[in-house]
Symmetry: C2
Subunit: 233 residues, 2 copies
DNA sequence: GGCCTTGTTGTGCAAGTGTATAAATAGCTT
DNA sequence: AAGCTATTTATACACTTGCACAACAAGGCC
């Protein structure tokens, strides 16, 4: 009779369990920060007991590192996916890329919380720092590639240093707007951030605003004034 | 003889002690994150014993909140200080503002680590979220004010919604570059980030690039091409 | 069915946590 | 010099933490 009644359990495949544990870790960190993400909390969320974690990970630190790596991969992968449209014009692809990065699901409070929590430790933890840098540089390279295509399509030649500067600036625009959207999404109407971002990116590249059929004179006048000032200076 | 030899101590003024404890808290968080910032660690750093903290703060949470408030105040204050130059032209002031935000001491790994650590908890902690929002909106209002001055000096009229969009975009540019500089300062040559930022901001506002005495034709040609495209579109 | 491997649970432990509170003493007041 | 008071130390406590390990049972294999 009242045998200690051990908890029933199922044996899951290794890959599945590891992924569940990583997901539970990310959930815990997003909700309660690194301090609130204890092995017991994580295990509870994953539907297992704490001891099991040690069977898949050498220690807590390794679990957190794998969780962060997973997060970075997921973020960059999602972001780059927006560049996949092969057929569209470079300019349209760039706009789609910016737009995708400034809407759900990339604009997301949970992901931002995770990003900030981990990145805050980057200056103290070389492993985190490197994981970030790789993700960042990969992202920037993608940006630089599209920018090069856009400028080529506009038949404009720029030096490589200028290209790099464009990529850095555009990356900053996207990052900055991403943060604002994640932290205070309700302050912006739907699509507003994307519109701001696209306009800012195109301004950075010196692209002529697309003709607005409503009032085409505006941009024409603006351009004339620009040219005039150029002559006089 | 061997009396238990209690530790010697000095009585400091309340203001001084509170400030020391807050500074020790910020140091601890910057170095080891929220998880590593225990009362004992903080007290050790401040040169007191842990029990004393309870004499100045109701609990750990309140100490952390005051520390974060202090941090935000310090950051926004420093940033706004760059706008103080009353005599310069609006455009020069804007450039100086951008430049100040993209150089030391505002570009600083420790401050960034603190910012990220705390902001990562903002979506879960309403108090942190509000502290951030107030600081952010204050900053953006400053940006918007300078932008308005700059555009007025250029005799350009823009709607208030457009003004807001400019401020949001410029804010994003500064934030994004600030992050890049804090996380990977050594990837940029001195002044490079500021140069990128100023150019991006001026492009956002549609300001004509300042005439480069070395090769003035370049920008003139560029402007002519811009104007031409405007005519044809 | 019975066995074996190993994924999984449960318990134990030392170290560390925030909080509470008693004891001591620094420095002002008189 | 003596006394007071409030700052500061020190200790206690209940609780959590990461980690180690022994016991167990799930599910494949023969």
């Amino acid at each position: 009779m009242n045998a200690p009644s051990r908890r029933k359990f199922r044996r899951e495949g290794e890959e599945r369990r590891r992924q569940d544990l990583i997901e539970a870790t990310l959930d815990s960190v997003a909700e309660h920060g690194l301090q609130g993400a204890s092995l017991r909390t994580i295990a509870l969320r994953a539907g297992v007991t704490a001891g099991l974690i040690r069977h898949y990970f050498p220690g807590k630190e390794e679990l957190l590192q794998e969780a962060y790596t997973t997060l970075v991969e997921r973020m960059t992968e999602q972001a780059k996916a927006a560049l996949a449209m092969e057929d569209a014009s470079p300019r349209k692809r760039l706009a789609a890329f910016v737009s995708a990065n400034l809407n759900a699901p990339i604009i997301d409070a949970r992901v931002f919380s995770l990003w900030a929590t981990f990145i805050g430790r980057a200056s103290a933890d070389p492993a985190l720092a490197q994981a970030h840098r790789e993700g960042y540089l990969g992202f920037r390279d993608e940006v630089e590639a599209v920018v090069a295509e856009v400028l080529a399509a506009e038949q404009r030649k720029v030096e490589t240093s200028q290209l790099r500067h464009h990529a850095i600036a555009i990356n900053a625009i996207i990052d900055g707007l991403w943060i604002e959207g994640c932290l205070a999404g309700e302050m912006f109407s739907p699509g507003e951030l994307a519109a701001i971002g696209i306009r800012a990116v195109e301004a950075e590249l010196g692209l002529v605003p697309e003709q607005d059929p409503e009032k085409p004179q505006t941009s024409r006048r603006k351009l004339m004034r620009l040219a005039q000032k150029g002559e006089s200076g």
